[in-house]
């Protein structure tokens, strides 16, 4: 219990620390006294670009890690990530359609419409997978995984075709989108999408206990009074909405969804009452810090944030795996 408490406290401190550090990092050198003059360019950059970006980093990183923890619970497998149920592929496909064919499709001319279109894609693909995995009123997790793999394959083939017909500028936008970036963060984005990022925090406590039972197995959970079908539906819906919002807004960011919940599980165990919230904190802190580092490594340019999350998290992940091997 003490270990749990300390780890959760460490994650809270880490997230706050990441936000503070990230607020100090960027191409523009901003001093505290600059912030007092609200008309200065430094103050505007800080409050209109950097702060929304930090908040978005925490929310997206948190949501991805939280969704990863849910997906691992749903499949009762600690090495799956939300991408397996096709949401990432659906988002990517629809974003690619908007980037490559946007000019000839009505209402798809702005950045914002690409985001919304991508979000619709993510939700649609998760519904298709869900539909294929459902039979006689039951959702078979194994079929869900297979449908996910099939839909992923279809989506990525279609993205391949789009990449082939894309011109140079479109191809560049596609590859940039696929590497993920928080550069588009703004207060208006946050206003429109924060509901999808904050929602998990409120839903978590309601399903944590049921997920703890669900890990024992579907039949056992049923006997213990858990409404298994309802739980699976709600989990897929939550992952779909949450990851769909993340991917459509910032592009593809790997590693966080798979590794963060896994790291948390290694330290504090399987209890979903703590696992979900702690994953959210650690994922948010990690992405926020990674993004800050991305902004200064090759300033004034940036490296894609997906690269930095993997670089920051992997050594820690590897050391935990080593530790675990030594215990076996």
């Amino acid at each position: 219990m003490k270990k749990k408490f300390f780890f959760i406290l460490s994650c809270i401190i880490f997230t706050i620390f990441s936000a503070i550090i990230s607020s100090l990092l960027g191409a523009m050198n901003i001093r505290w006294e600059d912030l007092l003059n609200t008309d200065s360019i430094e103050s505007r950059v800080f409050f209109e670009l950097r702060i929304p970006r930090i908040i978005l980093g925490i929310l997206v990183g948190g949501s991805l890690a939280w969704s990863g923890a849910l997906a691992q619970g749903l499949f009762r497998n600690p090495i799956v990530d939300p991408g397996l149920i096709g949401i990432t592929a659906g988002c990517s496909l629809f974003a690619s359609i908007a980037i490559v064919l946007g000019a000839s499709i009505p209402l798809l001319h702005s950045i914002w419409s690409t985001v919304v279109f991508s979000f619709i894609g993510g939700i649609s693909s998760s519904f298709i997978i869900f539909f294929f995995a459902k039979s006689k009123g039951r959702t078979d997790v194994f079929s869900l995984l297979l449908s996910g793999i099939a839909v992923n394959a279809i989506c990525f083939s279609a993205i391949g075709i789009l990449s082939y017909i894309a011109n140079e500028a479109q191809l560049r936008n596609l590859s940039l989108w696929n590497m993920g970036s928080l550069g588009g963060a703004s207060w208006s984005n946050l206003k429109s999408f924060s509901i999808f990022f904050v929602l998990p925090l409120f839903i978590s406590p309601l399903i944590a206990k049921q997920l703890n039972v669900f890990i024992l197995g579907e039949r056992e959970a049923n006997h213990l009074g858990v409404s298994v079908e309802f739980l699976k539906t709600i989990v897929i819906l939550l992952i779909g909405v949450s990851v769909g919002a993340c991917i459509s807004l910032v592009g593809n960011i790997g590693f966080v969804g798979l590794a963060v919940p896994h790291i948390v599980r290694m330290v504090i165990g399987q209890d979903y009452r703590y696992l979900l919230l702690t994953s959210y904190l650690l994922g948010g802190g990690l992405l926020c810090l990674a993004d800050g580092i991305c902004r200064i490594v090759i300033a004034p340019s940036e490296i894609p944030v997906g690269i930095a999350t993997a670089l920051l998290g992997s050594p820690f992940f590897l050391s935990l795996i080593r530790k675990r091997m030594n215990h076996i």
């Binding site: 191409a27 523009m28 505007r44 140079e168 500028a169 902004r295 300033a299 004034p300 340019s301 940036e302």
Partner: protein, 282 residues
């Protein structure tokens, strides 16, 4: 009466001086960032470089431009990286990006002028005149445009049936060739030769069979791309190259990227360079 006249003259002189000072102040307050090599080249050609506070990584001509602070590559710009220099004007091409950065800069109220990526004989003049307008230097811009025009008129390019294949690649694992509707295609055609590949538009990956079928007389490559590709030796080792005339005779022309594809003030020089090469091969 005379006194009044003198007073009026002195007043007029002071007013002129005031206007001049005001204009100079306005000029020194101009802080321009160029995010394209051709735009930078035009700014230097118009002697307006003292207004430049930063450039992008494609701005390497003239050499002095490389000593200016750099905001990174034109397609991967960052909002903070640009705003850091407190620009009063950003100039580049429509390919500048990513779109979120451009949007953020517009939201921050920074005036942005992005030229269309078009490849015409008139393109350099249009850009020169527009940049002249932005700086309030229409007269100088007109003079430069006239000079470029005259150079183009006096080119006397000889038409030839030489088939040119433009190859673009940064590494040997992904080699792209130019179809129609690219800066390279237009340069080949304008300089009097023929593009060896007209079956598709834009760039497509090179296949050995397509290369043999196209049978180019000469390979054209931007210098920097050729360096990244592994130099001349690597080019002749491309599968199928040995079956083409270019491969057999080792016909290759490397031209500086910005000179070849920039459509800037040096367009006449680029066209002449290419045309001379076509004459040699023929």
């Amino acid at each position: 009466m005379i006194r009044f006249k003198i007073t009026r003259e002195i007043g007029f002189l002071f007013f002129t001086l005031f206007l001049f000072t005001f204009q100079t102040a306005a000029e020194t307050n101009r802080r321009v960032i160029s995010v394209n090599g051709t735009v930078t080249e035009i700014i230097y050609a118009l002697n307006l470089e003292n207004h430049l506070v930063a450039v992008d990584s494609t701005s390497y001509y003239p050499k002095q431009a490389t000593s200016l602070p750099n905001v990174g590559y034109q397609r991967t710009l960052t909002t903070e990286g640009i705003l850091n220099f407190k620009p009063t004007q950003v100039i580049g091409l429509e390919s500048a990006g990513p779109p979120t950065t451009i949007q953020n800069l517009k939201d921050a109220g920074i005036p942005i002028k992005l030229f269309v990526d078009d490849y015409k004989l008139e393109t350099p003049n249009y850009r020169v005149l527009e940049i002249g307008k932005l700086f309030g230097k229409e007269k100088e811009a007109k003079a430069l445009a006239k000079k470029i025009n005259e150079q183009i008129q006096n080119l006397n390019l000889k038409k030839s049936n030489i088939k040119v294949l433009f190859i673009y690649s940064r590494n040997p694992s992904s080699v792209f060739i130019s179809g129609t509707n690219t800066a390279a295609h237009v340069m080949i055609e304008l300089s009097g030769a023929k593009n060896a590949v007209t079956e598709f538009s834009e760039f497509k990956p090179l296949t050995s069979e397509a290369l043999v079928k196209a049978n180019p007389d000469i390979i054209l490559m931007p210098e920097k791309s050729a360096l990244g590709f592994g130099g001349e030796k690597a080019i002749w080792e491309i599968n199928g190259m040995e079956f083409t005339r270019a491969g057999k005779e080792k016909n290759l022309i490397l031209v500086d990227d910005l000179l070849l594809l920039g459509f800037g003030p040096r367009l006449p020089i680029a066209l002449k360079t290419l045309n001379d090469k076509w004459k040699q091969i023929e």
